[in-house]
Subunit: 352 residues, 3 copies
């Protein structure tokens, strides 16, 4: 499976930046066959360096070329380089050049089950076993992987990519250029029950899920439909694997949510937030724009100012933990004892 | 898609309660086309108010009618209202009136694969791509969504609703009126291995999962089969998304388990418990009836008395956390120092 | 469904060990029809006892025979027994004797969609609705459950067992005797994005997932493909349900990972580790061989020595928690006050 080959100058022509040669003995415009990590790269590959913390690895790399930021242009790199403002983003583009997505192959697999009144773009690719419900709309150049189940009246914008086994419940509306990974479930019922006497009564969940453009949602993640109003994921939101977003949440544009996060119902998260992996955010709270929640943290209050917030315990050897954790049940007492001792000391001392 | 229309008095006739008018100028029996949240409602919709904390929003609503509890009957509502004992449950019923489930369409989709000796009720609806194993039984009026895989000898009661892509492993027994959401997996092997010399030996998991009546299990949730005895979910249990229930757990009737909870093996949870989102409950423990575990809490002991239990850290700005969390490694020392200081103070003071 | 019957001596012949009779009145070589737990067993079943902590239950059992360790050989058991070095492993083997896997039924279900150039062993069983991509290879005696989606150029070794609805993305390589449970997703894109100006740019994930021999991965678990290098799961690793393993992780041989664990990107976990349920391990860290991480713990540093490590809070009644947790925001202050008081006391005392 040989892919495209680019000379470094050809990459420069496509993504911009400034070329710097290494030495007369080294080809300053090498042909490149792919991307690689600094330690995995060989002479036919290009790597990248985000910051000075990787400088040592960069100096040891066998890569044929590097993408670096301006601060590293004169850092004694071992090969020619392309100097750019944003090495990570530039490398993302170069990677896409070497690994172009395979072209969409328009058509509907004969094993798919498509409702008679569904409207499917002629340029869309519908895989084996896909089911599309009544009234659904699937946009241009969408690629729907094997076994996806798309409910009634779902609207899916252009250039969507659904990996196999995605489920979209009835009525959900998905924007353009959305990527949904396998086993993701969009629009399942929110967890709404009313307690009556001695049992739960199900509250029908009649809102939908609205997902904006350029959203990506990871494998096994779930976004529940709204109870009455809708659950909203704004443009550019990126959601990792096994994230749970409950009914009536609102996730602001360009927020990134790492794996295993759980967000309870009706919570409103601002734009450009970063939610670390394994965090749990309780329901009905409001998180401002540009907030970072550290991985593993538990949020049970509004966070109204941008910044970094944390609530985890440091790990320690179990024997140490046993000694220290035992105190956690007695912190209030500890403080009272200290208060009391301070007072007695003061009182005693004042008598001196 | 116009749905049913009910006058307020028609809703009263179906769910009970007492009608209160607003003023002579306002139609005391308005026609209603649907339900809505207080802030999202218009004149053709009915909202509900659970308690006084939402009174302000209720006074501002544009809804045509409200369902309220007795304590709000004289609260100056802006529209006619139906006064009931349990507004949340009444609203659930009204919502169901406006959003009746689409009727089951009996029959087996031609793309389904049904074992010759499976017994499927004539009134059941079997979707595209469904697979039903040998000896399985599917009850009356069940609706089995696209792509569900139902193992051998599974028994599914009447009026079950399986959304697309649910998997039921061999032998599991499911009660009546059970709802299983997409990507739920019932009856996978418990995590049972014996360590031998330098590797793990798989312990075959030969129990099953038994699920009672009126249980709902959320998207992506997993309930493992028992190792020897069975895993049991009693009647009326409600399980949210991405919950893991390990082998040989026993979940008591009408317990509700919020999203992202993990329950390790052989734990016995009582009836009417409420397990908050993201909680982790270790294995082989016993939790009494009517226990509430706060969201995010970690349980590693028996809880034998009803009540609310908690074990989370408060979130704080990261800089504050750095200072405070550092102390968590030294709590035992801190206490010893306080003990020592108290003793010296006492000893010193007694000399006075 | 009657299964095989073994006399105790036949089990001994297959798994080894030493037979001990009970009393002349009791058949010392009973016929046995199955395995059971100590409290669930009847006279036709065999149970097992790992250690002295279960001795009381063992004395009360109605089982027809027991498998025990040497320390219990003379413990007054109520029935004949087989004494072995490793009762848990022996019991695993006995369980497998009573519950042999149903034989693989070679062949490809007519509803499967197999790429023309995929190479599928004649002895493999391909279930209904399975999709196999171009260039994929499926080994001898593999059993692929209903609805599995196997990407292009995937390589699956011999004797694999994929339960229904597993997804393998393009290019992943899976060893021999691997078991993957339903809704597991192997090889989805890692969570890689570069921030540029005001939005995220997707970094194509061009590594794969490499899974060794004898690995088992639970229902709903996800293992992401590498960004540049590969994600690696070594031989004999056992992964429970709903575990997330991010891009470029490396999991050492025979490590066991319990349910709901999240492991962030590029973390390297050693061999024979045991990661407790619900633990969260941050990215780019290194965990040595033979490390145990307690359930519910949060790891955000390297752990370079074998041992047990913990970072959880003890659960307590909510009222107690309120009092104690409030102190967690003031621990640094508390320590400073203690420091200060100690100094003043010393200073005061030295004046005496």
């Amino acid at each position: 499976m040989s892919g495209p080959v680019f000379r470094l100058s050809e990459l420069q022509a496509r993504i911009g930046g400034r070329l710097i040669a290494h030495s007369p003995e080294v080809d300053s415009d090498p042909p490149l066959e792919g991307v690689a990590s600094l330690h995995g790269a060989g002479p036919g590959q290009i790597g990248f360096v985000v910051g000075k913390s990787h400088l040592e690895a960069a100096r040891k790399t066998r890569a044929g070329a590097l993408i670096v930021g301006a601060s590293l242009a004169d850092a004694g790199l071992p090969c020619p380089a392309l100097v750019v403002d944003n090495p990570h983003a530039a490398f993302a583009r170069v990677t896409a050049l070497f690994h172009p997505a395979s072209p969409v192959q328009p058509g509907i697999h004969p094993s798919a089950s498509i409702a008679g009144d569904a409207r499917i773009s002629d340029s869309a690719e519908i895989g084996p076993g896909v089911v599309v419900g009544s009234g659904a709309v699937i946009g241009a150049r969408c690629r729907i992987g094997a076994g996806c189940a798309i409910g009634r009246h779902v609207v899916l914008g252009d250039d969507g990519l659904l990996h196999p086994q995605v489920t979209l419940y009835d009525g959900c509306r998905i924007g353009h250029r959305v990527i949904l990974h396998s086993a993701a479930v969009i629009g399942a019922d929110g967890f709404g029950f009313a307690w009556e006497d001695d049992h739960w009564v199900k509250v029908p969940q009649v809102g939908i899920v609205i997902i904006g453009d350029d959203v990506e949602i990871g494998a096994g993640s779930t976004v529940d439909r709204g109870a009455l109003d809708d659950t909203v994921i704004e443009d550019g939101v990126k959601v990792d694997n096994q994230v749970q977003i409950a009914h009536n949440c609102h996730i602001g544009a360009h927020t990134a949510i790492a794996g295993c996060v759980g967000i309870a119902g009706s919570t409103h998260i601002g734009q450009r937030c970063r939610i670390g992996g394994g965090a749990v955010i309780m329901g009905h709270y409001r998180i401002a724009d540009d907030v970072t929640i550290s991985s593993g943290s538990f949020v049970a209050k509004d966070i109204l100012q941008a910044g970094v917030y944390t609530s985890v315990q440091p790990i320690m050897p179990h024997a140490d933990w046993l000694k220290n954790a035992a105190q956690l049940r007695h912190l209030a007492t500890l403080r009272q004892r200290l208060n009391s001792l301070e007072k007695r000391f003061e009182s005693n001392h004042s008598k001196d």
